[in-house]
């Protein structure tokens, strides 16, 4: 059973949307702890609910859309009820937690750490703005792993 489950999601063929995958690779290199599981995926699907139900803490890593690019944000995620028609094949973190609760009666504490992207066009590279944020993103995830009661925060790393 993973004490901490890290789920990095996004499309690595869409430039900054793949920032989670790059952070996940670096976390795998830096973390040697059998109780910490790191997953990467294109989108959140209901199959993840049983993995989430086995974790004590879940950290989602995602790219966000907005202005200005270069914002690192940590938020609590609470499970929310579904809304009509909202579900087909993919979920957002809050609804995935709700799915875990409905199916397994366990919805662990969860956080989402996001980086505001600059370019979501076709490509496998990050923009320089977002690439410069990756070390802070990785440090932020490690802090979330090790802090007993993390607090939501917004950090600005504007170029």
């Amino acid at each position: 059973m993973a004490r901490v489950l890290i789920i990095a999601f996004g499309n690595p063929l869409r430039c900054d949307d793949g920032v989670g995958w790059i952070a996940a690779d670096q976390l795998r290199d830096q973390i040697e702890d059998s109780e910490i599981e790191i997953l990467t995926c294109h989108q959140l699907q209901p199959e993840l609910a049983d993995r989430i139900a086995e974790a004590q803490r879940v950290i989602f890593i995602d790219a966000s859309v907005g202005d200005p690019p270069g914002m690192l944000e940590v938020q609590n995620v609470a499970s929310v009820p579904y809304s009509p028609g909202s579900f087909s094949h993919q979920l957002d973190p809050a609804r995935l937690l709700a799915c875990s609760w409905e199916l397994y009666r366990h919805s662990p504490e969860a956080f989402v750490i996001t980086v505001t992207g600059e370019n979501f066009g076709y490509g496998t590279h990050l923009t320089s703005t977002v690439a410069a944020l990756v070390p802070s993103l990785v440090a932020g995830v490690k802090s979330l792993i090790n802090t007993p009661e993390p607090q939501p925060a917004v950090y600005s790393y504007l170029p």
């Binding site: 294109h42 199959e47 049983d50 028609g85 709700a98 409905e102």
Partner: protein, 472 residues
């Protein structure tokens, strides 16, 4: 005349709408299932090297990329003119079977189970996985576990769940390790138990859906599927066979590479989805069905013990060929059982760990056709290349397209049965959608397009005015 429009159709793979036309007396006159998305992979692949085609074609769909990988790789095998190593063929078979499990699990437990458990007339806001989880969490958990079982096998073999690039022209790119084989084998018993109890659960539901069974695309038609020596269920290799509603063989030993001789491809102005038909009977009389129902109707046996027991019971449903498309769901569960049993058999095959998994060659033919049974039915990829190996022409015949004529007729049958007059209860419209879900159409595949999962139903009056519309 009035028209009902359902736009978009929900809980299917892709974007479509349904229009139902009423006459001046409010009686259903006609109905159409429109596929409203388009991307055109057949054109965008022109000019690409043929050996890129499996990876490129897998991008058609995120649900059943493996089917496209396999049909595409088989078309490329034909261009190379190679016989792939035995181990490679067995490994491809395992991945194909794993995909059948995960795709069928999605169709049954996530897209259609809300109707079975909550009822066709239940609140549409609850007809989704969350509604299923609230009503019967064990069923929802089983569906998720089963889908995960299939996806994990695909990931273990191909390196990732979606769009694995492991199936390549000439075989597969990597052999199977002992560790990965044993990991899959450890998961088999749980998957088998889930399917067995799901079959029991589904059989108990049947009594509640007698009217739907009677009216959901329940009519005589041709059926087409791959066939093989001995009459067993064929999902990877074989020749094409076409049978009629009485089980009589209409055409046999058909070489898929010559599909254009016996299959026509009609197009209608109101849909991007083409309508294949059996040429000797013409259009639209040459309508046929493919997929789990066609395969089980045609197979004398599955070839694995538990699936054969279930097939024997399935055969008793209508005392001859099973014609109601509602039973597609039932057939999916039996195919899941077969797939799990067959995966286990293949993993115990001493050759499965062989290291020789790819045949190498340059292009030796200017043309190649690949065929396989995808979860939704027969899938055909056909490519032509120039002397440098670049693709000059491609044609894809997708399972959902084969079923297009039958789906349209099914929509009309359900609409005529359930819709009486201008006021149409939501549950009636849901049944119009549900008949489409029986076929589990994958519209992203069938139009090779990228789309949203949406549904629209429009009810039009005698002069074409929209008098009722549902959009979800």
């Amino acid at each position: 005349m009035q028209t009902i429009v359902i736009d978009p159709v929900t809980r299917i793979e892709g974007h479509s709408k349904i229009t139902i036309q009423l006459d001046e007396h409010g009686v259903v006159e006609d109905a159409h299932f429109h596929v409203t998305q388009f991307r055109g992979f057949e054109k965008l692949c022109e000019g690409r090297p043929f050996y890129e085609m499996p990876a490129l074609m897998a991008r058609i769909c995120g649900i059943c990329p493996v089917a496209h990988l396999i049909a595409s790789a088989k078309a490329c095998d034909a261009i190379l003119a190679v016989r792939i190593p035995e181990t490679a063929e067995k490994l491809r078979r395992i991945m194909n079977l794993a995909q059948v499990v995960q795709s069928h699990a999605l169709s049954l437990f996530i897209l259609s189970a809300p109707d079975f458990l909550l009822g066709m007339d239940s609140d549409p806001a609850r007809r989704n996985l969350f509604g299923v989880a609230e009503h019967s969490p064990s069923v929802a958990r089983d569906g998720i576990r089963l889908r995960k079982f299939g996806q994990e096998i695909i990931e273990l073999l191909g390196g990732k769940r979606i769009h694995p690039a492991w199936v390549v022209p000439g075989g597969v790119s990597e052999p199977l390790s002992v560790e990965r084989r044993d990991t899959i084998l450890r998961e088999i018993p749980e998957a088998r138990e889930i399917i067995l109890r799901s079959i029991l659960w589904f059989k108990r539901q049947l009594e509640n859906f007698r009217e739907e069974i009677r009216t959901f695309a329940n009519f005589p038609s041709l059926f087409m599927a791959l066939a093989k020596e001995g009459g067993g269920l064929a999902l990877y290799k074989g020749w094409l066979r076409i049978v009629n509603a009485d089980g009589d063989i209409v055409a046999d030993n058909l070489d898929a590479a010559r599909y254009q001789e016996f299959l026509g491809e009609a197009v209608e102005p109101w849909s991007y989805l083409k309508s294949p038909y059996y040429k000797p009977l013409g259009y639209p009389h040459g309508m046929y069905r493919v997929g789990p129902l066609a395969r089980l109707n045609m197979a004398r046996h599955c070839g694995t013990p538990l699936a054969d027991q279930e097939l024997a019971e399935f055969r008793e449903l209508e005392r001859r060929f099973v014609l109601s498309s509602f039973y597609y769901h039932y057939a999916r569960l039996i195919e899941c059982l077969f797939s799990v049993e067959r995966i286990e058999e293949l993993l115990h095959d001493p050759e499965i760990l062989g290291k020789h998994v790819r045949a190498y060659a340059g292009p030796n033919n200017y043309e190649g056709v690949g065929v396989a049974e995808a979860p939704r039915g027969t899938l055909i990829h056909h490519y032509k290349i120039d002397e440098t190996g670049l693709v000059t022409w491609a044609n894809l015949l997708i399972a959902t397209a084969h079923n297009n004529l039958a789906m349209n007729r099914g929509v009309l049958q359900v609409a005529r049965h359930y819709i009486k007059g201008r006021v149409v209860p939501e549950g009636m419209l849901n049944r119009v959608e549900a008949v489409i879900r029986c076929f589990d159409p994958c519209l992203s595949c069938s139009t090779h397009a990228l789309g949203q999962m949406r549904l629209q139903i429009q009810l039009l009056d005698a002069d074409g005015t929209v008098i009722s519309e549902v959009m979800r």
